[in-house]
Symmetry: C2
Subunit: 240 residues, 2 copies
C-alpha cells in the first residue's frame, strides 16, 4: 500500500523577503520520512489572507495531510487561524478550553493575558487542539490540516504532539554513493539502474568541490535489501 | 507603481525527503528584494512531471516572473526542460546554439559530449538561453519562466545572468528592532503602528533565547524616511 501523502504550507513574509531562512521545512521533511508519510509539496506564501486561504484549500484537497507553520501568534500579522477557518467555511472564536490553558499559563508566569494574547485562543469550530509544551498557546487540527507555530522550538514540539496520532506507512530508507565524476559520465548507468529497480527511487544530486564536479547518488525505498542490491551494483559498475 | 511580482519553483526530491536543505530560495529572495521584485510565493515539488507542469502553469499565470531551480542536468531524473515545454505547449529538441556551447566546453575539458550530456542542449522552441559561466550548460527563459540549475554555484551565476535583463521596481528597504518581550506585550503597539503607517509592512517575528521570549519587529517599505519614523516611534513607545 502506498504511504500517506502530505504537503506543508509555510506562512511567512520573513522567508520570502530573504530575511530569515526556513528551518521548519527541513525538520518536518525528516520527521515525515521517518514516520512513513511522503512529503510531496511545500508552499511558502506571504501573510496575505487570500493567498493562505487558496493554498490551504488546494493542498487539503490534494494530499492526505497538510502541515502549516507560522502566523498563529498574538500580533496583527498573525492571521492563519482566521484563514484556515475561512478555507473550511467554519466560524472562529475564543474557545473555553484554549482560554483556560492560556489563563493558567499566564497566571503562573506573572504576565498579563491581554486582548492580544487572548487571540491565541481563537480556534475554528470543531477543531481539535495540538498540545504546545513549550509556550502553551495551542495549535489545532481542522479536518486534515494541522496548524502549528512558526517559532522552531514550538513547531518541533507541536510536530511531536501530532505525528504519533497519524497513521504512517513504511519508513523510507536510503543509501547514498558519492561519486567524484560529472553526472554526464554516470547518467547511462543510472538510467538503466532506475529501469531495473523500478520499485526504488534513484536520485542524482550534483555538486561542485574545489572546481571538480561530483554527484551524490541517493537510492530510496522501503526494502533495505533491494536498496543494498542497487547500490552494490552501481558501485561495481563504477569501479568504486 | 507596484513592484513586479515573482514566484519560485524548486524541483527536488532531495529537499522534500529532508536529505538536503534548500539554499537557492534564500539566495533568490535576497536578490529579488534588492532588485525591487516582490517574491510572493515559493513551491517545492518532487521530480514528478504532472506536478512540475501544473505548478509551472499556475505560477506563470499568477505572477510577473517565475524562477525555477533544479532538474536540468544530464540524468534520468532531470525532466524540468521537458515539463516546461509541455506546460507551454511547445516542442523541445537539441538546439544548435546550445549544442555548440557544450561541444566547445567538452572539447576544452577533455570530457566526452555523450548522449546524456547532450540532453542539456534540449531547449523548448522559442526560448532564449540563460548564460552559465560556471559549467556552460545553459538555462533558458520561456515567456515569463526562467529555468535554472539546482547546483547553488550554477544557480547563482544564472541569476546574475538573468536579473539585469528584467525591469525591477524600487528596492525594498527594511529596519528591524529587537525587543526582549513576549509578542503579546507589544501587539497593541504594533497593531496601531500598522494602521498609522499603512504604506509600510510591519512584521513581528518571535524567538526564544535562553528560555526567554523576544521578538524582532521588521519594518519594510520603499521610503527610508517613513521607515525611520515608524521605527523611532515604536522604540519611543517601548522605552528602547
Amino acid at each position: 500500500m502506498a504511504n500517506p501523502t502530505a504537503a506543508m504550507l509555510v506562512i511567512g513574509d520573513e522567508i520570502l523577503s530573504g530575511r530569515t531562512r526556513d528551518a521548519n521545512m527541513h525538520y518536518l521533511a525528516g520527521e515525515l520520512t521517518t514516520h512513513g508519510i511522503d512529503l510531496k509539496e511545500v508552499r511558502i506564501v506571504s501573510d496575505d489572507a487570500p493567498a493562505i486561504v487558496a493554498a490551504t484549500r488546494a493542498l487539503a484537497g490534494a494530499y492526505d495531510h497538510v502541515f502549516t507553520s507560522g502566523g498563529i501568534g498574538p500580533t496583527h500579522d498573525d492571521i492563519t487561524a482566521d484563514c484556515i477557518a475561512e478555507a473550511f467555511g467554519r466560524t472562529i472564536d475564543v474557545r473555553d478550553d484554549a482560554r483556560a490553558l492560556l489563563e493558567a499559563h499566564y497566571a503562573n508566569s506573572g504576565l498579563e493575558l491581554n486582548e492580544a494574547r487572548l487571540r491565541m485562543a481563537r480556534i475554528p469550530e470543531g477543531a481539535s487542539l495540538i498540545e504546545n509544551p513549550v509556550s502553551t498557546a495551542p495549535g489545532f487540527t481542522v479536518e486534515n490540516v494541522h496548524v502549528m507555530a512558526g517559532v522552531p522550538s514550538v513547531f518541533r514540539a507541536m510536530v511531536a504532539s501530532v505525528l504519533p496520532t497519524l497513521i504512517g506507512g513504511a519508513p523510507v530508507l536510503s543509501q547514498s554513493l558519492r561519486v567524484m565524476r560529472g553526472e554526464g559520465d554516470i547518467a547511462a548507468n543510472l538510467g538503466q539502474l532506475a529501469k531495473d529497480f523500478a520499485d526504488l527511487s534513484i536520485g542524482c544530486y550534483p555538486f561542485q568541490q574545489d572546481g571538480a564536479f561530483g554527484a551524490n547518488v541517493v537510492v530510496r525505498g522501503t526494502d533495505g535489501a533491494r536498496i543494498d542490491a542497487a547500490v552494490t551494483r552501481l558501485a561495481d559498475e563504477l569501479g568504486l
